[in-house]
């Protein structure tokens, strides 16, 4: 069969042909006076001043257009030290400074996560990088925090990360349609009072703040608004390393790191009352992420994983204001306007590992981009056309189960004619039928024993069956993509405590729910009510 079916490749060869010859003395296409210093897209050459204006304008226009960040709102900037987030940081600083036209009016805070432990940096290297980072953050005068990734291991009861009260989710789904009006009211209120954060409580922002207060963390974080970094204990570093060593592929390591980092960022934001978290993903980065995530089976969540805003956490909304800048623009800007960046090494790979899907995709996109210069923007435009499936975000699914790792609505409750079921069938057909036993054994055990919780007892964790059970139970709580990642974990023993305890909690809850459901089968009682009391 010819591979060309339904093909039309003309566009691509056309694009290559149309690539302009780079004239040495090209004029800026905007002011038409000064000579150009960089070509942003095919045909668009800019001089330094016009480039700066374009770059700065784009940032504020993006935030202005989306009307998502309220005046006086606390916004946490996640800074890796890389070019895109550093550039974002610079834009925020500039946008908040007094003389800027179209001044930004939110209240920023900064956070950097030190991932040295999994990037195989020595303590010395980590200290050096943290010091470098700190000096950059300090200069801004904004409150900042530098946190070691090891912190995820410290959480014992950070179930809040996973266990948003259902009221939060209901609030989010109910109020979103009125957002535009809210925004206007908030802006008016802010301009009227003109005194700053305290007085910004107008319109629904009051509502936001109260709600936030209601669900604030039970154990307040000891950290002050600006926290000096203290190196984690050798023990916690060891634990984190153990976790990453138990991962069989670099692909899964990348995903795990992303998951843990997100938890830590959201937790930090939540603990300190930030309701927005700004991430510095560039257009190039998002195009790579888009294709990577398709390969990872995360197609259902592309709009959340790569979109401008991401509400999966309910009270803390992720925002990606850099998503219209290409990495080329960003790098040029940083270079020309002396934006400091801090280099961090790539995730460590053992020589036996063949690289990750992330790296492979990045190489592929970059190669394609150099042959077909519209690649990144085409993928970006595709991502713009997607949304979160209404079946998983609509009001009817407010209580829908969410993935334990990424908090996306589960995409595994699907019809039989699906890739997910095809895999399950293959798994079923490819092993001895008696291997299905664990599930049957659980049922038997529960039925025979008087003690209902027999098979969930932590004491039983040592034996092989309960390990297999734990794995099955965990997989059940994950979305398709996170399941694939988890299959590359050789053991669940090193997962952070909060993940495992929440998994236990949910599994237990489901089991209880089932029992009650069976019990109440003929009565018309409100299940949720019974569960709560």
């Amino acid at each position: 069969m010819c591979r060309a079916q339904e093909e039309e490749d003309e566009r691509y060869s056309e694009a290559v042909r149309r690539r302009p010859e780079l004239g040495l003395e090209q004029k800026c296409m905007k002011c038409k006076e000064r000579s150009a210093v960089l070509i942003i897209r095919i045909g668009d050459a800019f001089c330094k001043d016009c480039f700066k204006e374009y770059f700065v304008h784009k940032f504020r226009a993006m935030l202005g257009k989306k009307r998502l960040i309220y005046p006086g709102e606390k916004v946490l900037l996640a800074l890796s030290g890389g070019p895109a987030s550093s550039s974002m940081f610079q834009q925020v600083q500039e946008g908040l400074s007094r003389d800027a036209p179209k001044k930004l009016r939110f209240v920023p805070g900064l956070v950097h996560i030190d991932e040295g432990a999994v990037r195989r940096q020595s303590l010395k290297e980590r200290e050096k990088m943290v010091a470098e980072m700190e000096s950059v953050l300090k200069m801004s005068g904004f409150p900042y925090q530098i946190i070691a990734l090891e912190e995820v291991g410290r959480y014992r009861a950070v179930i809040q990360v996973f266990n948003l009260p259902s009221s939060v989710v209901q609030w989010v789904s109910k109020d979103i349609p009125d957002m535009a009006d809210d925004y206007k009211a908030a802006v008016d209120g802010f301009l009227g009072h003109h005194t700053g954060v305290e007085n910004a409580e107008s319109g629904s922002r009051t509502c936001v703040q109260t709600k936030l207060a209601e669900l604030s963390i039970e154990e307040p974080e000891p950290a002050a608004s600006t926290g000096t970094f203290c190196l984690p204990s050798a023990q916690s570093t060891q634990a984190l390393k153990q976790l990453f060593d138990s991962v069989r592929s670099l692909t899964a390591k990348e995903e795990l790191l992303h998951t843990l980092r997100s938890h830590l960022l959201v937790h930090t934001a939540r603990a300190q009352g930030y309701s927005k978290l700004m991430l510095g993903d560039s257009c190039t980065r998002l195009a790579v992420k888009f294709l990577t995530n398709i390969s990872l089976g995360r197609g259902a969540f592309l709009a959340m994983d790569t979109g401008f805003s991401d509400r999966r956490y309910g009270d803390v909304v992720l925002v990606r204001p850099m998503r219209e800048y290409s990495l080329k623009e960003i790098s040029f800007y940083n270079q020309m306007f002396l934006v400091p960046t801090v280099f961090s090494p790539a995730l460590n790979s053992k020589p036996s590992e063949k690289g990750s899907i992330h790296q492979l995709t990045e190489t592929f996109i970059n190669k394609l981009q150099s042959d077909f210069p519209s690649t990144v923007s085409t993928v970006y435009r595709t991502s713009e056309k997607l949304n979160v499936a209404s079946s998983v975000e609509g009001p009817e699914s407010v209580s829908a189960a969410r993935c334990l790792f990424c908090l996306c609505p589960l995409d595994t409750r699907v019809e039989k004619a699906s890739a997910f079921h095809a895999t399950l069938i293959s798994e079923h057909l490819s092993q001895r039928k008696s291997l299905d036993l664990p599930e049957a054994a659980v049922k038997k055990c529960c039925a025979e024993s008087e003690e209902r919780r027999c098979c969930k007892k932590p004491a039983a964790r040592g034996s092989t069956t309960s390990r297999a059970d734990e794995r099955l139970n965990l997989l059940d709580l994950l979305c398709y993509g996170c399941r694939v990642t988890t299959k590359d974990l050789t053991t669940l023993d090193h997962l952070p405590h909060y993940v495992r305890s929440e998994a236990d909690h949910r599994t237990h809850r489901t089991a209880m729910k089932k029992e009650i459901q069976e019990f109440l089968l003929h009565e018309n009682a409100d299940l949720e009510y019974v569960l709560k009391t």
Partner: protein, 399 residues
């Protein structure tokens, strides 16, 4: 020979010992692999050991399903190892499940199998024939081939299809580009060169299958698209930003309005397994690259997919899962499907692609159907003459 066998046995024993010891100390999880005779070790045994014993290779690996025979392949979808018989059973049963869960056929239907003589359609014909008898689908199957008129390629592969016809005892219909369009691919290439010839071929083939099916009164057409093909199409559509195709390319069955419905029973079957199925069943298939240059852009996507598969074999199905769960914003404009005003075939434009291409060929303006020239379609319909400038744009570029 004897020495070699004995050596293998010895190593096998050594292996069992090694596994036995190692599994005491190392952490759990049943890996799909196991060695013959150590089924019990498998259930208790171990995660950590597999890297270790894989290095010692040459040991026959035992089938994960029957636990008796030696495995002949490692399944890319699940990582399990299966023997020949268990593989055949699993492969066929999975296609059966795809057919059942997707409700692809109804009893009494006549189903045309798009047969090219290549591996996918040969395996498809074989498996459908087997399943139709085994599960009593009650289908009338027939083979449907398209003769594009490519000397040294299609004439050879059609010989394979003719053999298949006899081997499977199925009726065969061949429709040719020449009788449908008045042009063979060889003629087309003479006019358009090797630049866009694949566009012509692809568009014409799609309609040719439909027309052949109509002549035979076929209710459904099924094609040999496998999981790799579909995953690749998902990637392609992302890279070219074709949101309409992106949304529908993972559907197992398509098209009801106007065209004859099509389905892809091998949608979840890996190319690797299809090739091995054909190899172990000794099926007769034809494998030569088309003599006219293969598609470069799709080549990139295919190579990328194969690299992904090498890193993580489940990726192919993971991509299909992604494709099945994409959700397109409601306000994104989608082409409205209508009918071609000339031939009546489904089309989102006034003229279907095949008619435009054909018009271009007949007028000596082959670029008419390549790229965006919709504005000229009404001119063609009204038989109006084109301006000199328009004509110049549509001629073959001299590169």
């Amino acid at each position: 020979m004897e020495v070699a066998t004995r050596m293998r046995q010895n190593r096998h024993t050594l292996m069992l010992l090694a596994r036995g010891c190692a599994s005491l100390s190392l952490a759990t999880e049943a890996r799909p692999e196991s060695n013959c005779g150590c089924a019990e070790l498998l259930t208790g045994g171990g995660g950590g050991t597999w890297m270790f014993w894989r290095n010692l290779n040459t040991m026959p690996v035992c089938c994960n399903s029957c636990l008796e025979k030696n495995a002949v392949l490692k399944r890319p979808k699940t990582g399990h190892s299966l023997c020949k018989e268990c593989f055949f059973t699993a492969f066929e049963e999975e296609v059966h499940q795809t057919i059942m869960s997707g409700q692809l056929f109804q009893r009494g239907e006549t189903v045309g199998i798009g047969a090219s003589g290549g591996k996918d359609s040969t395996v498809l014909a074989h498996v459908l024939k087997v399943l139709n008898e085994r599960h009593d689908y009650g289908l009338a199957l027939l083979l449907l081939s398209v003769d594009e008129g490519i000397t040294g390629y299609r004439d050879d592969s059609l010989e394979t299809v003719k053999r298949n016809q006899q081997q499977y005892d199925l009726p065969l219909k061949i429709v040719s580009y020449e009788e449908l369009y008045g042009w063979t691919m060889d003629d087309i290439v003479k006019q358009v060169g090797l630049k866009n010839n694949c566009t012509f071929c692809g568009v014409f083939r799609r309609q040719a299958l439909d027309r052949g099916a109509m002549i035979l009164g076929v209710d459904k057409i099924c094609t040999g698209h496998n999981a790799d093909d579909i995953a690749e199409t998902v990637l392609m559509n992302v890279l070219r930003g074709d949101i309409a195709r992106l949304r529908r390319c993972t559907a197992v069955a398509t098209g009801s309005e106007g065209a004859i419905p099509r389905c892809k029973p091998l949608k979840y079957a890996y190319e690797k397994e299809i090739v091995l199925y054909a190899y172990f069943k000794k099926l007769d298939y034809f494998s030569t690259e088309c003599v006219y240059s293969p598609n470069a852009y799709r080549g990139h996507a295919r190579a990328f997919l194969k690299d992904l598969e090498a890193l993580r074999p489940s990726t192919i199905l993971d991509i299909i899962h992604s494709g099945e769960h994409l959700s397109v914003k409601e306000d994104v404009r989608m082409p409205v499907q209508g009918n071609c005003s000339r031939c009546g075939y489904i089309s989102s434009q006034a003229l279907c692609k095949a008619c435009v291409l054909l018009e271009g060929l007949n007028r000596g303006l082959p670029k008419l159907g390549i790229g965006k020239h919709q504005k000229l379609h009404h001119k063609l319909l009204a038989q109006e003459p084109l301006t000199e400038q328009e004509r110049r744009k549509l001629k073959v570029l001299d590169l």
